[in-house]
Structures are given as C-alpha cells and as structure tokens.
C-alpha cells in the first residue's frame, strides 16, 4: 500500500510515516479549533491549509482530506 499523499510506502491509515503523524496532529487539534471558534471539520481543514504556521506535511494531508470530502459530497449529491 502506498501513501495517499506522496506515494511512499504507507504505514497506517493509508499514510507514510511522515504524513501519518501530520494526520494524527490534524485530528488531535480539531478539538481546540472547535472549542475556540466553533467551526465544522471542513472549515477547519481550509483554515489550517491556509495558515502559514501549518507544517508542509500537515498542509498536504489537509488538502488531501479536503479533496476527499469534496469527492464524497459530489457522490452524495
């Protein structure tokens, strides 16, 4: 299995060692964003993708998750 973001060998959740940790951080940090700004998951992903302090790998994962959400939305509509 290869990483959904970069094509390297994937470890867990379909991400490589680099992007796996970024994915975990994205999941973990959502609680703080929700508490602070009361925003939904999709808006959160857009916010962190645009934030200059977000790490490159986290941005790549956020972008992947946004694309995934959009594809799923298209399917349901």
């Amino acid at each position: 299995m290869t990483c959904k973001v970069c094509g390297r060998e994937a470890e867990a959740d379909g991400f490589c060692v680099f992007h796996e940790r970024a994915y975990e951080n994205i999941q973990r940090s959502f609680a703080a964003w929700k508490k602070g700004l009361n925003i939904p998951w999709k808006d959160y992903l857009r916010e962190i993708k645009q934030n200059s302090l977000t790490g490159d790998w986290a941005k790549e994962v956020a972008e992947h998750l946004i694309r995934k959400e959009e594809t799923e939305d298209d399917k349901t509509s």
Binding site: F18, A22, R28, A32, L53, T54, G55, A58
Partner: protein, 692 residues
C-alpha cells in the same frame, strides 16, 4: 652536527613560536627541507623544533578494498596512504624521520589535549622509530614566551599514555562505525542507481542527524491551534503602556470578548505593587562551546568559523588554548599581568585600569572543568599584526568576557503591579538596572533589558485607553541553528569539543541539512529512515554515550582499549549484516532521495515563459555544452532556453533578479571572484551596462 633534542609541535605556527621562546637569543634559525620548515635553537643544548601538519597518521583498513564492507581489521598508516588530498604530508614525515635519526632526546610539544597527544604519539612511534616511551611532554595553555619557557623547564617525564589510549580508541571506534555504515549506504545507493555519491554517517553524525530529523518532523507535521490574548492600553504620566491580562492564553474567542466587554469604559486601579531587587552575576569565562554560542548570537559566526578564528588567535599567542571545557581561571595565569598589558590598549585600557584599582582580583567562575586547560582568556599579548574584523571581534569578545569575570554583580530592580479593571486583573511589569557592575565591562555584548516604569502606589487610579483582543496561534517548535545544535550535542554528550563543529559542517557538506536555520533535506530524512528501520542502534545516543563511557574508563585505567573496541565490533557486526541483507531496499530508498537532491541542485527556478515548467541546468548530449532549459520542452510545450558560461562552476541561486524577476545563477572560476548572472539576456541591468 652534534646530537640534539627533537621537539615536535602540532602546527608550523606553533613551531615558530616555541622555537623563538626556547632559543636563548630568541632568534632560532629557520631551515627548509624540501619545503618543510624546522627550526634550530640553542638553550641548555641544541634543539631542533619540527612541526607536524595536524594528524600525520590515520586509521585505515588492513586490506586495500575500497568500498568493501564490513571491515573490522585496521591499522594506523601515514595519512598520505589513506587520503588522496594528503600527498604533502609524505615529505613532512620524511623530514621528521630524517631529523629523528640524529636526535638523542625527544619532546612532544603538541597541544595538550587528546588530539595533540595522538599527533605526537603517532609521530614518535611510527616516524621516529618507537621513541614514544622515552619522549617527554611539554604542557602549556598559551604560546607566550614565559609559559613556553616554564613548560620546557618543567617538562613532564613521559607522555600521558592513558589519555593516548583513550584517544586512539576513539579514532578507531569512529573509523569502524564511519567506514562500515557509510560504505553500506554508499554501496547500496550506487548498486541501485549506478552513480557514485558519498553518503556518510557515523557514531556521532547519525544521532545528530536524528535529532534534526525529529525536530523537522515536528515542524512539518505541525498544526497550529487558535487562542486569544487580551491586553489593556493604559496611560501613566505622559506614556502609554500595553499591559497583558493575567491569563496569557484564552481558549475561546467568546471568553476573550467577554473580558473586553467587562472592561469597556472602566477605570483601572492599582491593587498591588511588588518590587524586588536582585543581583545578576557575570557570565562565566568562555569554554569553547560558550564562545561558539556567543559568537553566533553576536556575529552569526558558525561554530566552525569561531573555532578556526580562535585557533588563529591562539597561534598568535593572543588567547589561551581554545579547545577547552573549563570555565575556570586559576590565579597561576597571572590576572594582574594580563590586565596591566590590556591597560595599554586604547580599547580596553579604561576597563582594565578600573579592575586593577580593585583591592582584590577574584574571577567569578563557571562549573565547567578541564584537567588540561583553563577557560579561554587573553594572554595579555597585543596583536603584532592587523587583525581582520572577524579576528578582532573574537579577540575583543574574549577580552571583555575575561574582564567581566572580575567585575561586581549587576543589580536590578523588578517591579510587578496588578491593575484591576472591573475585577479583571492585568499585569504591569518593569525592570531597571540599579548598578551596572559587570555589564559595563561586557558592553556592547551584554543583554540585560531595562523596561523602566513610573512609580506606582496601591489604590492609584489608572486611565484605561483601550482593551484589545488579539487572535493568536500556537507556534511550531523553532528550528535548530548551528549554535543551538552544538549546545544540544554538548548536552547529549555527542562528540567532543574538538569534533562537534566539524560534524555539523559534514551534515551540510553531505546535503543532509541546509540553511542557517537548519532544515533537513529529503536526503537527510531518507538516511535517518533507512538507519532507523534497519539498524536503530546506530542512531541511538545511548550507544554513543555507552562508548564514551568506555573511553572514559580507558582514560581512568579501568578498561583496556581492546575490550572497548571488541564491544564496539560486536555491536557493529549484526548491524552491517542487516544492512547488507537489505541492500536493495535501502538502495531504492536512497536513490530516490539522491535523484531528487540532484534535480534540486540543477533547478534554477520557475520558467518565466510557460509559468508551469522548471528551468534546469542541462548538458547537451550532442554538443557537450551546458545551458538552461525548461522541463516542458520534453512535452513539446515550451522551448525556453538560456545560454550559460561554459567555463567555471555554475550554481542556482534560488533568487530572482531584482530588475527583471528572472532566475539567477552564481558563476565562479578558480581564483577569481564569483559573480551573479541573471538568465534574461535582455535584462535592463545588462542593457544599461552596455549603453553606458
């Protein structure tokens, strides 16, 4: 010629100084033998002082199989036999061997530390025909005449063999790790890609790179979280102060807004004032690590650069031996004499005279201790040549730090007041220096910040101008820089004071890391990943610490060199076997990163014509000439190309031309000044030059 004493020094500059100090008239004669200088001096008897060129011997494999691994058999050989660039050392050794034949006594006068002791020992053993057992040892910390004379008069009866054994073991262990692991990586990549690129790692390099990779991973995976801060702008006298709310972090915007709302149009009241006076002692005298850190903070000198400048100043007898871990200044260095000499200078005269007027000279010292040398201090000698600005900066820094150590503590007053605005507490903090003490002697390098504030009394009413909310985000961990990395290595006991700066430089040279604020490259990550996956032991700082412990035991005569080396080989054997077994997988991983790294090296920037392609430095297979072309050429969508000079080295600068915005490259020829070239043939800067 009558029999003489052969004095061996570490470097030619040191030989000149030692010869001048030991000759009764201070005028030794300089002789050249096939370009190798040595000195003839007269003292109690004839002396011949001959320099080495640093290490003249090194560890090499018993068999001559370049690139083969594992190798566990080794021997000490002349440097010119092991390193291509060391041919010059051959004549050097021949001269020393020739001079040794007519000598009846031998003195090792190399720097008194592990490396110096090994340099002297290997020369005496291999080039002088086994004279290491009868040689005497000079011990000194400065190259001043007085100290060298004293050192020669009280020469130690023998070499420090336990120190030498520990040093030899360190070289051998490092060679075993470096050669085996580096060859494993290099061979794996070469077998896969067919191209040779040196990939190195080692006992210290690996764990250091791992620290950097871990930090880089945290930065690249970082997700910021929002928080809010609240502060009030208040008027005190004629000045405006912005004071923070007592809680530094507010987790929700609603709560932050509620605080602002509560404070709106309200007056503040000082509910408490607390003042505290405290003393700030001077920083301890410099050891090498703290000098490197301070020089980076003040002048942005890399540790390597600071180290080499300090070495030059030492060889000029301006400062004491710099490769020390000591932060102590023993009275034997002669505080008063040094200050009296410094008092003669325009720059330091006033401060030195002030210290000399003190009834008692007692330095404030740090905890660092080194049995061989004191902290770095100025010898009191004044520069006999014009120092360049970098040398002057380091010399001034050492002088000022030395003088600061004898000065009084600085006294500061910190004031903390609480301003209550409708039940919400804000903090007003100020600090002022009451007595400058050592700060005066360490100007302009001292960094105690003053933040004065007017006198406040409890119950005083405060005019609140505004209460503000700020959106903030948590920050990723900061990147290491060469100085903070050096401190980390010191803390983790990785490498020695003499090797740390060089190891950091190697990481840059191998392109594992880049930039002053250190980023780990893909290649660096891949090397760490490979080692972490197949042999995590060699990335562990525990292993290095264990081996260091073994070497300390050799020095304390609690373990033998053979035992420590045997243990090191036993650890290494399964590691190399595993690397060999997985050569294909490793090669694949490394080749991909190497390919990317090579491509990055050739990438000049974005194509200004098609905007989607990248400009690459390409060599034409047909003509053999190099030029810059767009990657979209291969898709037949862009034919943009720029000519390049055919001579010299061309390196992408990753910057755009200030005038036209085209990518730029750096061009340099050997022995000439490098120049920046804008790729745009019609760049306004070029046409302006022509029209003029």
């Amino acid at each position: 010629m009558p029999k003489y004493t052969l004095v061996i020094t570490e470097k030619p500059d040191a030989a000149a100084r030692i010869a001048a100090a030991l000759d009764v008239d201070g005028k030794p004669s300089r002789v050249l033998d096939h370009g190798v200088p040595f000195y003839e001096a007269k003292r109690d008897k004839e002396l011949v002082i001959v320099p080495a060129l640093g290490h003249l011997y090194t560890v090499a494999g018993e068999k001559n199989g370049r690139g083969e691994y594992p190798v566990f058999e080794y021997k000490w050989v002349p440097l010119y036999m092991a390193e291509r660039g060391a041919k010059r050392t051959r004549v050097w050794l021949e001269t020393i061997t020739k001079l040794a034949k007519n000598a009846d006594a031998f003195v090792d006068a190399c720097d008194y530390d592990v490396e110096g002791s090994i340099i002297g020992y290997t020369i005496l053993k291999y080039a002088c025909g086994g004279k290491q057992t009868e040689a005497k040892r000079m011990k000194y910390s400065t190259l001043t005449r007085e100290e060298l004379e004293e050192s020669y008069a009280n020469v130690l009866p023998s070499l420090d063999f336990s120190l030498i054994e520990a040093g030899l073991a360190r070289h051998e262990v490092d060679w075993l790790y470096g050669v085996n692991l580096s060859r494993a990586l290099t061979q794996a990549a070469k077998k896969r890609s067919g191209r040779y690129t040196t990939l190195s790692t080692g006992r210290v390099q690996g764990p250091t790179l791992k620290f950097l990779a871990m930090r880089e991973r945290s930065i690249r995976s970082f997700v910021p979280t929002p928080y809010w801060t609240v502060s009030a702008k208040i008027r005190l006298g004629d000045s405006l102060f912005e004071i923070p709310f007592e809680r530094k972090v507010i987790e929700t915007r609603d709560e932050a807004n509620a605080i602002v709302e509560a404070c709106k149009s309200r007056k503040g009241k000082v509910s408490a004032v607390e003042a505290k006076t405290f003393l700030v002692p001077p920083p301890p005298p410099f050891d090498l690590g703290s000098l490197q850190s301070e020089a980076y903070r003040l002048f942005r000198f890399t540790p390597m650069r600071t180290s080499s400048i300090a070495q030059r100043l030492y060889l000029d007898a301006l400062i004491s031996y710099p490769r020390t871990s000591s932060q102590k200044l023993p009275p034997t260095i002669g505080y008063k004499t040094i200050l009296q000499q410094l008092a003669k200078t325009y720059e330091h005269g006033k401060s030195a005279c002030e210290l000399l007027a003190k009834p008692d000279l007692k330095p404030k010292e740090g905890k660092g201790f080194d049995p061989a040398h004191p902290a770095i201090y100025p010898t009191g000698n004044l520069p006999q040549r014009a120092l360049d600005s970098a040398e002057r900066n380091i010399w001034n820094l050492v002088v000022k730090r030395f003088m600061a150590a004898f000065a009084d503590d600085a006294a500061q007053k910190a004031v903390k007041a609480i301003v209550d605005i409708n039940g919400k507490r804000f903090l007003l903090e100020g600090k002022e220096t009451l007595e400058e003490g050592w700060l005066r002697f360490y100007k302009p390098y001292a960094r105690l910040m003053d933040a004065p504030m007017p006198r406040l009394v409890e119950g005083q009413e405060i005019d609140v101008k505004k209460v503000l909310v700020r959106d903030e985000f948590t920050k990723p961990p900061s990147r290491y820089n060469p100085s903070s990395l050096l401190k980390k290595m010191q803390k983790e006991n990785l490498g020695t004071k003499a090797t740390r700066a060089g190891i950091i430089q190697t990481l840059y040279d191998r392109k594992y890391i880049a930039e002053a604020s250190i980023t780990v490259t893909d290649l660096g990550f891949e090397v760490v990943n490979v080692l972490q996956k197949h042999c995590p032991t060699v990335l562990s700082s525990m292993l290095t610490a264990k081996l260091e412990e073994g070497m300390n035991e050799i020095q304390d005569n609690k373990a033998t060199r053979e035992k420590v080396l045997g243990e090191a080989i036993e650890i290494l054997k399964p590691v190399t076997a595993k690397l060999k077994e997985n050569e294909d997988v490793i090669g694949k991983q490394l080749s991909r990163a190497l390919g990317k790294s090579r491509l990055e090296e050739r990438t000049v920037g974005d194509c200004p014509s098609c905007k989607t392609g990248k400009l690459l430095i390409i060599r034409s297979k047909k003509t053999g000439k190099r030029f810059v072309g767009c990657t979209n050429y291969f898709q037949s969508t862009c034919k943009t190309a720029f000519p390049l000079p055919q001579q010299g080295v061309v390196k992408p600068l990753q910057t755009k031309c200030m005038s036209c915005g085209y990518p730029t490259v750096l061009v340099w020829h050997r022995g000439k000044r490098s120049w920046k070239l804008c790729l745009n043939p019609a760049c306004p800067l070029k046409t302006r030059g022509k029209s003029n």
